[in-house]
């Protein structure tokens, strides 16, 4: 009986975006398709909340034999997908409506956009729920393809270029990841697993018997491969292009969630590899990539002229921090990293939405031409400032908390060099990012403009995210705490809570 219920949970979760894609294709009316997408995203959010409450009491859900497996770790990713998916759907209505009025997109593009958006959500939902590492790979490759289609929605030269780079680099990266996955599978077959050798649960179960040398090589392939998709430097080169040229709601999803999905797969393999050969090897690698990412992001932020590119590099920095937390290990580091995943997924879309609205108002993304946001768009300006302060890790906003956990775990675990380097880079980021931000928000507009906050539907999603940024900075709700704690136990204790 219980398993039937679990099957239904998973089935409904996947059917919602499928049905919504079908309805969008069926109706093709500009007004309706936006609402359909919002409803389906809301439905997904509700279902994920049900899953969260079940996970807190039952720890794991398995469905369809062993094909789907949800535990606290996957629930964190599911939560970020559904929250960001919902607010992005909400924001899409206003943003794409304005693009439509402006003449950038026509009816055909709008239908294509909403179809793509729903399929994008579907492919992302598969990643944390799947048990088989092969299906995770297929779903992640599918996210690349769908998001490439969404980026090339506009017929602009830059968008085509960004889409091309993203397609080529991400596909090559994922081919490395597939080699790594096959190595793990091979190790599992040799350890005596039969039919379910591709399943994560089976890999964790047999991981003590794996050949250590094979696992080392495999994990390097995994980290380079999925790291490309997760935006870890130096494989991040596609990221600023893709994230800045995509339609803004898609940028928010790409930055806030898709990077997390890729990193989630790395965490899964990190657990197996830690079981097989001890955590030191993968921890060291994660820390190295993390320090490089934060460093490159800090340096690149300094030179940015484009608002959305700046936010994209900030994503590289935050993925570095998450990787750092997982690499430092220990209860505190992992707890901080997982909290950082959620916090970043809330703060980054807020910034992207604000920047999307701002660039529609100013009709440019160049930061030098944007001045005096707070005078022209008071509400958006304040929310933009809140999001920016959160992103640089200012208390009392949410990211401060998780960054504090991560860095203190660095000192606790004796990684003084890495921690102090990262702190140095963070100080640079702090100064540079705030400088850009303050120049844009305050001052007087270059050209006089009418005071206007661009409609309620643009403000509401930002308000929701802004409120979450503030609330999570002051206190973390009990349920979320339990969830994150359980997930850190999974990572630290070899796969099972």
């Amino acid at each position: 009986m219980d398993s039937v219920f679990s099957n239904l949970t998973i089935l409904l979760l996947f059917l919602t975006p499928v049905a919504s894609t079908g309805l969008v294709t069926l109706f093709r009316k500009k007004r309706i398709i936006g609402v359909i997408t919002i409803c389906s995203a809301l439905l997904i959010l509700v279902q994920v909340f049900v899953i969260v409450s079940r996970i807190i009491s039952e720890k794991t859900i398995t469905a369809f034999g062993n094909m789907f497996y949800i535990d606290s770790l996957s629930t964190i990713i599911l939560l970020s997908i559904s929250i960001v998916g919902f607010v992005s759907a909400l924001y899409s209505k206003n943003y794409m409506g304005r693009q439509y009025d402006h003449g950038t997109v026509d009816d055909k593009h709008l239908v294509r956009y909403y179809q793509g958006f729903n399929v994008f959500l579907l492919t992302m939902l598969v990643i944390p729920t799947a048990n088989s590492m092969g299906i995770m790979w297929v779903a992640l490759e599918a996210t690349t393809l769908v998001s490439v289609l969404l980026i090339m929605l506009y017929y602009k030269e830059n968008a085509i270029e960004a889409a091309w780079k993203y397609l080529i680099i991400a596909t090559v990266g994922l081919s490395f990841a597939l080699i790594g996955t096959v190595f793990f599978y091979y190790a599992n077959i040799n350890a005596g697993s039969a039919d379910d050798a591709m399943n994560w649960t089976s890999m964790v179960h047999n991981s003590k018997l794996f050949n250590p040398n094979l696992i080392k090589i495999a994990f390097i392939f995994i980290l380079v491969g999925y790291g490309t998709k997760a935006g870890l430097a130096p494989m991040h080169t596609w990221l600023p292009d893709a994230h800045s040229e995509a339609p803004t709601p898609v940028s928010a999803v790409l930055s806030g969630v898709l990077l997390n999905c890729a990193f989630y797969v790395i965490i899964r393999f990190h657990i197996i590899s830690s079981n097989a050969i001890g955590p030191e090897f993968s921890n060291q690698l994660l820390i190295i990539f993390a320090v490089i990412s934060v460093g490159i992001a800090a340096a690149s932020l300094y030179f940015q002229k484009d608002m959305k590119r700046m936010l994209a590099f900030s994503s590289v920095e935050h993925m570095g921090l998450i990787s750092l937390g997982i690499g430092f290990g220990g209860l505190l580091g992992v707890y901080g990293a997982l909290l950082q995943i959620i916090n970043h997924a809330i703060a980054k879309p807020l910034m992207f939405f604000a920047s999307g609205t701002i660039s529609q108002k100013y009709e440019t993304k160049a930061m030098s031409k944007i001045k005096g946001i707070i005078k022209i768009m008071p509400v958006t300006g304040v929310l933009f400032l809140i999001g920016g302060l959160a992103l640089v890790g200012m208390p009392p906003f949410n990211i401060f908390l998780s960054e504090f956990f991560i860095l203190s775990s660095g000192f606790q675990s004796g990684q003084f060099l890495a921690t102090s380097l990262v702190i140095l880079f963070l100080i640079v980021t702090f100064a540079v990012f705030l400088r850009h931000l303050i120049k844009m928000i305050f001052g007087n507009p270059v050209v006089p403009m009418k005071k206007d906050d661009m409609g309620k539907l643009a403000i509401i999603p930002m308000m929701i995210l802004g409120a979450l940024v503030l609330i999570l900075g002051v206190f973390v709700p009990q349920q979320l705490q339990t969830l994150v704690q359980n997930a850190s136990t999974i990572i630290n204790h070899g796969g099972f809570a």
Partner: protein, 221 residues
Amino acid sequence: MVSTQLSILTISGSILIIATFSVVARRGFIDWLNAYRHQSIVLAGVTAIIGYITGIWEIYIAAALTLIVKSIIIPKVLTYVTRRLEIEFKTETNPYVSLRTSVIISALLVGLSYFLTQQIPFKSDPVVNVLLPVSMAQFFIGLFVLVNRRTVLSQVVGLLIIENGLFLFTMVLTHGVSLIIEIGIFVDILVGIVISSILLFRMGRTFDSLDVTNIENLRDD
């Protein structure tokens, strides 16, 4: 295993490498596509032989899919998309490393992949011994083609070679993962090629040339 099977596998392995080399040594897009088509046919044959040796029926489906998707559909789609492009878009006149040096580098890469596969602890199995280095060589040469060439079309071909190497790698090492995942991978590739064709088509209309050095507006400097 029968020794004839082994020698067939060895011969097909060398054909695969020769086909990869003919992509490295040629300048024209149509030549690359032909080489790719022949490579894919041999690949389908190898897959079918592996299926015969191991007796797993799912591998025959993978072989059939390879034959249909890679040796018929993908070359057709790419020829169709590029038929309107001017001839200078389809030839690689000026790679970063000259063709002669490229061939030597590719030969070194083949040597490297034989060396690497000896380092990795695999169970000794004749199929693995013969074909795993071949798949690695395809993978590396594909990567090399991808970074060495300037035209966008050759990047697509590089990607296709990488993908063939990857398919062989998976097939040899695991004898087919499972049918669902295998089909998923095929669908992903096919959609990826279709999307890159759409992109190629749009590039042909918006850009003056398909030289990658022209396609770099988005930079940080």
